[in-house]
Symmetry: D3
Subunit: 257 residues, 6 copies
């Protein structure tokens, strides 16, 4: 079930069957010369939609905006401040929790969201933990980036090896190729500059250089990823693998004590 | 052009042709027994997509989450605090402004967003106005709710008269029927309770009752709207009218001194 | 009754008679060559004082500071950020609500306050709506700009026609002339530049240009208003009309279900 | 000169003569059985108005709302959160500083404002100190509570001795009696409970008990003050003394290097 | 007892004996040519540790970071914004209050903390006072700067007279000399510039000049303090005096009604 | 060099040799029956002190307060909200950056800090990236939890195997035993409940259960860690290993392009 396409009566009925919801998390940022700016949101949403194919799993609306300040010098990137993403997650969760939802499964498509979303979940639990009232309902969070799914992870390594790289990866681009054949993009002529692991580590987004440095170091936006390798048929296989992994993972989360 | 389906190189090239962008604003909230929870976001996005059909108009990603606290007692409603929506708008605008965008046209689908988005725009201008540096680029905002478009407004009054009402209107439901025939919903058996204008005025969301009172006063979620009247063919006509109105309106905005 | 001139015992007794309070909202900003910087606050306060002439209507202290960033380049303008005005309204309301006040009638004197005050009221209701506890007292808001009062509105149009304009209007200046004859100001020599409706619409404060542009477009501060037309005797008539309208409007608000 | 009664042209001209402004700070809170709720704001404003009697001294609009959470259980008290008062001070100062004002003299009428206003001033200086740009104009603050003025302080001790107490003092009530004879209040029948210095110290607002405890300890709102002693003629003398002290103090502030 | 060196079981047992805790407050800022950057935190912590020598007094972890924006141009100074210090105090207090602590005694080592910490305590009480629930536990604050202790204060005046000055005082430096003989610093060659009381008053941190001005006025960081006079043996005596004063003061606080 | 024990002149001289600083991050929270509440801060600080043994490496003051809401039901735990820790990190970094520091190496001792500190660093870079001015100095961050150091990590696995567990680990307790023999604690009588990997995963702090659930699931505070195994001599070895690893790691960070 997909929340935006239901009525409130259908949601009310759903809450008798389940207290869980899947929340896709994306980012609006450059993905190199042939990657879509919406890649992260589009991938997370598609996988989450696959997981929520039955009437017993609810797909919440995608939080498409992520935290990607290091990509701001590439036009088209829209980056939330961490505090903003934390507020979005807080209001999203509190709204649904006031209605009976208790289990929030974040399906993430962008590395820069990990810190802020975990921070938001900790603060949500802090408010509950500091409050005097003892009768509160349960509230549990789970956070999973899709590339951590074991089958999908094995597949992308098998398909692309070192070419998978770190940003604008062929795997995520292949998924959007499978999903949106009506938006074809010409592959870049060249591989990304061949970089040592050390170089990549020093300059990847997680080490928090600013946007000027980031564009200087990675002039076409790819961080070690050879996005020429992406093929729509890979994307379909990756999607299927991630969806199967996700179904199991979500079920495990719901069964936690 | 639709930002999420472009590459950063395409956005860079677009900025040579135009500094404008259309930003759809929605809400995730109950829309009565046969209205989709995503109605406001879906309508605003569809109209904005229609306006941005050429290579000279950029459609930004939809801010689907709006401010609708009065609907929180209807399951499925996700309401941002006003401050959160203000932060989203701020980060969205500042990201793109740092890359050269100068004209932001908000195409709104939900009444509760008017206050917070105007407030955010005022604060963005305040920061610019208080800063000492004189060399800043231009930054201009325009805010339009789609039902204010003259042709679309005339059409919905002609089609539904008093049945249009104030929330979960047949016009917005008709638009989603036209857009998503794969999600049909059974029309409610009855008209909404017949309410005097005074009663509606006193209890509508704009007068800021809380969610408990709101559900008490409007038990099936409709505020004076006879959503049984909605037809997909109306929706198509309304969409076309709004898109034509919007193209003119956006062009006028871009031509402002 | 005027809160600042009562004792707490008198307020305690008042709460047995009524749960309502009138809150005037102003702005501290330029009002052209012969308008007082305090115009908006002074007008709203005077009208609210007239409405609250009996022991059954309480006048709260004026929130004189409003949101007017577009006027910051005119010396003397003091503009709050929207978030600040939202915090003032929040603390004002929560203080009195903790003591038993339930109905807050905002009598507004400045257009730029509409967005932020509505946003604050929505967030106040959101906190109530999200909280688990069911036993809360009622809390209701009403927001009215004085120029919306029907008799006062008709009068200003009749008196000034197109010369009323949009900022530093002869009607608000006439009211301050009636109230403060000890602060006479020389009328400007000339009418404001004759502007088309389109030009005004494009450049008025509501379209959120910044303070530099605003002063450039409206060099003496008037936005289409011919403030030479203001006369103290008009002001007295306008005041009386607004007060009568306001008494009815406030009574209707109190009688809401 | 009083800002709210000037035009922007007059302010522009004033800035050629002086960069200073006096900002009265008050509080809206209970002042015992015969003290006005607006006492603190009314006293500070009246003294500040006296100081700014010439064309070379500007009186800014009063920030009437202060921080007085301990008095919230007495109806009529409106207390700002500290953060809100800090935001008001910040926006007030930044607005005027952007136009050329450089010296801000806070004339305070309420003890609870000391912490938050100093905190706000420190944060304003922090932003300037952390910024890279070297060309900023001067910005200086001075904070003075009127009862610290030496002549006024000696006078209130001489008039009331121990009866002056700590809250709802006869001196501040005498000032409002002098200012507003049209709002007479009956003096309480009894002196406040006779309290030891230790008891007062332990329970005064500065030691931050909450509002429930505060009303319990001081049931009629007076903290050791015998407000029966207040006389309008005392008030006039106190006002005159404070105004003379204030004129000297403000002049000294302006002459600082 | 020192919280960081206890186990949670020991704290649980302590709460049966006492609800109090001592919270040292410091600052990380320049202290002239021979004063340690950590001086304020080190002094407050050492005195607090002395007071909490028994099993019935708990020493909380030091909040070493204070508000000192005026010293930011001296390398090594780390200044919190006032709002940040307010948040630290809030979270610190709310954490322990949720476990049963009720009396918080702030032992302060830095003048710039007074405003923000008082502001935070007022806001903590405001939240309690505004909340509807009546069953909350007690929460009381006390704020004391160590130099206010009567014996210690008399001693420092006796030892240094006018040479004590206002910042980087010989008394605080003597205390760190006594505590940390392994970090000797060469005394400056000269006394600080001889300044009139008026000059000092005008330029001291409390009057909120910014960091550029502050360094200009006090080029070696001392504000009228002749830190050459500091001796480790003075420090030992000062420490002992402050600890004895503090034990009495804390006991009085705990005995408040 | 240790910042709190230097003078500002020494810091000024240091900045000619290096732009780097090490910032230890801890937490104040329960560490089971024989673990100190300050464990995380004490370990991180000791390792960082070892790394900064020379005049070319600066040790900044420890941020002892971390984010640990799940432990709030164990007395003694002091947890910052994520937003508070983000503000501390922001003000800490901006203070030093304004003086010339450019490289910030966070040496972390608590898992719950990862999200908030990364979030803060992203927001710091966002402000730089969004600002128009091009002449800013470099600002780089590195985040390392000490148990990730390869030698130390291997050692703790070798010493304790599965008994290392997830919270109140024998390795961190051994380190505090080595550092603070004057605070001995009796080891618990029993091993922690034997838990499956799945059970641990479901209930560890990272999955964000609230404090009530957390204490219910882990009644003595240990999460799968057999803290009986800790020995002071292990602690010394672990410390030495971590310090050597850290020296290399910090040097690598400084050498990044």
């Amino acid at each position: 079930m997909e929340l935006v396409f239901t009525t409130w009566n259908e949601v009310e009925a759903y809450l008798d069957r389940s207290k869980g919801i899947i929340v896709p998390l994306g980012s609006i940022e450059q993905h190199g010369p042939n990657g879509l700016i919406g890649t992260d949101a589009l991938c997370a949403e598609a996988i989450a939609r696959g997981i929520s194919g039955s009437d017993d799993v609810m797909l919440g609306p995608t939080i498409a905006f992520g935290v990607a300040p290091f990509n701001l010098r590439f036009p088209g990137t829209i980056s939330m401040r961490s505090k903003t993403l934390m507020s979005i997650v807080t209001d999203y969760v509190q709204s649904l929790a006031s209605q009976g939802f208790e289990r929030f499964y974040f399906l993430n498509g962008h590395g820069g969201n990990v810190g802020p979303v975990r921070a938001a979940c900790q603060d949500l639990q802090a408010e509950r933990s500091l409050s005097a009232s003892g009768s509160q309902r349960d509230m549990r969070f789970f956070f999973r980036s899709w590339w951590e799914y074991p089958t999908a992870d094995a597949l992308r390594r098998e398909l692309y090896g070192e070419g998978e790289g770190m940003h604008a990866t062929p795997s995520e681009i292949a998924i959007t190729q499978a999903l949106f054949p009506e938006h074809p993009k010409a592959a870049p002529a060249a591989a990304p500059p061949r970089l040592s692991i050390e170089y990549l580590r020093d300059h990847a987004g997680d080490n928090h250089a600013d946007a000027r440095q980031h564009r200087l170091h990675f002039p076409d936006g790819r961080v070690g990823s050879d996005s020429r390798l992406a093929r729509p048929e890979h994307g379909r296989t990756l999607l299927d693998a991630a969806i199967e992994d996700g179904k199991r993972d979500y079920k495990t989360f719901l069964s936690q004590l």
